[in-house]
């Protein structure tokens, strides 16, 4: 149940009209806050061998948001807290966000920070001890970034590809990539003022059946662009797909890729997003999956875990469900679980192929002088692609499927520039002798089965 609060005075104009402070002023505020930055928390968790846990959380009203953050901190003490932004704000529909905020704040699926303004953001920040991350989905996040930094937030999610393709229909990639280059440059500027902003990339993409090498290839590209623009701390997030060895391998690839493609002085953290696809509906099943995800993050050596709740299948969770999700996930940090291991051979094999696929996808692009143009062209001609794109900028000619063990493989690769060896392995693992079944109805059934994988596994669909 959400705590009831007296409504605050309505917000008359966006951000109450207060001019956003300069980066230097914001950096000064952040240093004066007297709390660790997200980057510092990540570094100290990594040093302590602990996976930092962080909720998704965002509600429309200001008092409700504050209560949500303080409740989560009091009852589950996550290492980092979140401000999830509503989807009007994400799409620069600031007026719609403002109107809904004033008319019916509970109709918002996140906190409209631009409408509330940076001063309210500071109030939230000062109400809790943990640093905050802004999680959103904006192809163009420049306005939101400035407000966020002014509010003292030290972690900001997104990227020119990963916050475009899953989050909008018709924003050209060149535009979003340029807008995110601006954000990244501002991070560089803040670093010069002594404040490191953790820039998390949204490797989760469209979340459903995303092959690891697609997620990591896109993160590599975004990470290279971010580092070139001056970002000093990059979190590479990867969405749990559901197959233990594949997920552990994907996470363990992140430091290898960082070493291969990024300058040595950039901190890189691996982050796991607990299963991002269709969640089981029964509480016990959802909790099994939450714990499983948390264990995967530990086995994969992630620095951070973004949690889900047992209400995931139904809607934005209430605070209590969120607390319980965090607590359950934190069990994976138990000192008593040192005995748990993932099969080393299987993980090594998955890593080898993931790294190879990523290289086949990104090496040709990284060789080009203008990476942004190269990326836009690649999506255009299908040499880069994602499944189930929300945007017309990606073809979604790539079709994933689960193999018999539940790992995510490529059924169709569209125009992805994979070597014959990679294509052959995927074919073999899917057991598609010759051409796969092109009949629509049967493909649809198979895909739906793969999407609902965990509901089937828990026999919820019988």
């Amino acid at each position: 149940m959400r705590t009831r609060h007296r409504a605050l005075a309505p917000v008359a104009v966006l951000g109450d009209g207060a001019a956003v402070p300069s980066p230097a002023e914001s950096a000064g505020y952040i240093r004066s806050l007297g709390k660790p930055t997200a980057a510092e928390v990540l570094a100290s968790c990594r040093a302590a061998g602990r996976v930092a846990v962080q909720p998704r959380c965002g509600v429309g009203g200001h008092a409700e948001m504050k209560a949500l953050l303080t409740t989560l901190e009091a009852e589950a003490a996550p290492d980092i807290l979140t401000l999830t932004i509503d989807s009007h704000t994400r799409l620069l529909r600031f007026e719609e966000a403002l109107r809904t905020l004033n008319a019916r704040p509970t109709d918002l699926n996140g906190y409209p920070l631009v409408a509330h303004g940076w001063r309210r953001g500071r109030e939230l920040n000062e109400a809790v001890a943990a640093p905050l991350e802004i999680r959103h989905g904006s192809p163009d996040a420049r306005a939101l970034f400035d407000v966020s930094v002014a509010a003292g937030m030290t972690s900001f999610e997104g990227g020119g590809i990963s916050y475009n393709l899953p989050y909008c229909k018709a924003v050209p990639l060149v535009e979003s990539l340029r807008a995110w280059q601006d954000v990244d440059r501002r991070c560089g500027e803040l670093a010069e003022h002594g404040v490191i902003i953790d820039r998390e990339l949204f490797g989760t993409l469209t979340a459903v059946l995303v092959p690891p090498s697609i997620s990591l290839a896109i993160s590599v590209i975004e990470a290279v662009l971010a580092a070139r623009a001056g970002v000093r701390c990059i979190s590479v997030s990867y969405p749990q797909g559901g197959h233990l060895a594949q997920d552990v391998a994907a996470l363990r690839c992140i430091p290898v890729l960082a070493e291969r493609y990024l300058p040595a002085d950039v901190q890189v953290h691996a982050v796991l997003h607990e299963f991002m696809g269709v969640f089981p509906r029964e509480r016990a099943h959802a909790e099994d999956l939450i714990l499983y995800g948390a264990l995967v993050s530990r086995l994969g050596g992630a620095s951070k875990l973004i949690t889900k709740t047992y209400q995931e299948a139904f809607g934005i969770p209430d605070p209590q469900a969120n607390v319980e999700g965090l607590r359950l996930a934190d069990r994976a940090n138990s000192p008593l679980l040192g005995f748990m291991t993932a099969d080393a051979d299987q993980v090594a094999e998955e890593m080898e192929w993931i790294l190879r696929e990523v290289a086949e996808l990104v090496d040709p692009l990284l060789a080009r002088p203008d990476l942004i143009t190269a990326v836009a062209e690649a999506f255009d001609d299908g040499t880069l692609d994602i499944p189930f794109s929300a945007s017309r900028c990606a073809r979604s000619a790539l079709v994933p499927r689960r193999d018999a063990q539940g790992a995510i493989r490529y059924l169709f690769t569209g125009s992805l520039p994979f070597s014959p060896a990679v294509l052959r392995r995927n074919k073999e693992l899917l057991g598609t002798s010759g051409e796969p079944d092109l009949e629509l109805g049967s493909l649809l059934g198979q895909l739906t089965g793969d999407i609902d994988y965990f509901r089937h596994l828990f026999r919820e669909t019988e």
């Binding site: 509503d86 989807s87 009007h88 994400r90 799409l91 529909r93 719609e96 109107r99 809904t100 509970t106 109709d107 918002l108 699926n109 989905g137 899953p166 989050y167 909008c168 229909k169 018709a170 469209t206 459903v208 209400q311 139904f314 809607g315 934005i316 969770p317 209430d318 469900a321 189930f388 794109s389 929300a390 945007s391 017309r392 073809r395 979604s396 000619a397 790539l398 079709v399 169709f412 690769t413 569209g414 125009s415 294509l423 092109l438 629509l440 109805g441 493909l443 649809l444 895909l447 739906t448 999407i451």
Partner: protein
């Protein structure tokens, strides 16, 4: 391995629908699958995809006067604000066909009926839970329409 079924045009379509996801909503998976399955049973699907404002649905109605229905998905809880302009678009005849809505129709994990009531008063004609019911509903709608045309 180069062409994929999600890209295949539907077979020569005799019936047509307009499909899309509400304005602030980028959830694409159900949209992809619904398009695939309607095409699979012979519908022509004008899929406007994610993040589609009411005006874009209206424009599609103008471009495709033979469409039988507008089918809108919404998962992110913002359906009411996103369809704010629907009442007017229907009143002015810009959207002259039945509007079917489905998905996750309010914010939060505890649902009650008010979200549906609010949608009906915005001009939504049908609210569906399971897309598997769409073909039967479309048949019904066509039957009703033929009747009322015959009667008028």
């Amino acid at each position: 391995m180069s062409s994929t079924p999600t890209q295949l045009p539907g077979p020569t379509a005799t019936r047509k629908v307009i499909l899309g996801v509400a304005a602030s909503d980028s959830h694409a998976v159900a949209n992809h699958l619904i398009a695939l399955s309607l095409r699979g049973i012979g519908f022509g699907v004008v899929n406007l995809g994610t993040c589609t404002p009411v005006e874009e649905f209206a424009q599609a109605c103008a471009d495709h006067p033979d469409a039988e229905a507008v089918i809108i998905g919404s998962l992110n809880g913002h359906v009411h604000e996103d369809l704010r302009g629907l009442a007017q678009a229907k009143a002015t005849g810009q959207i002259p066909v039945p509007v079917v809505v489905g998905g996750n129709l309010s914010v939060g994990s505890h649902k009650d009926g008010t979200a549906h009531d609010r949608l009906y008063s915005l001009g939504v004609d049908h609210i569906m839970a399971d897309p598997a019911g769409l073909p039967a509903l479309l048949d019904e709608l066509r039957a009703a329409r033929t009747c009322s045309l015959a009667a008028s």
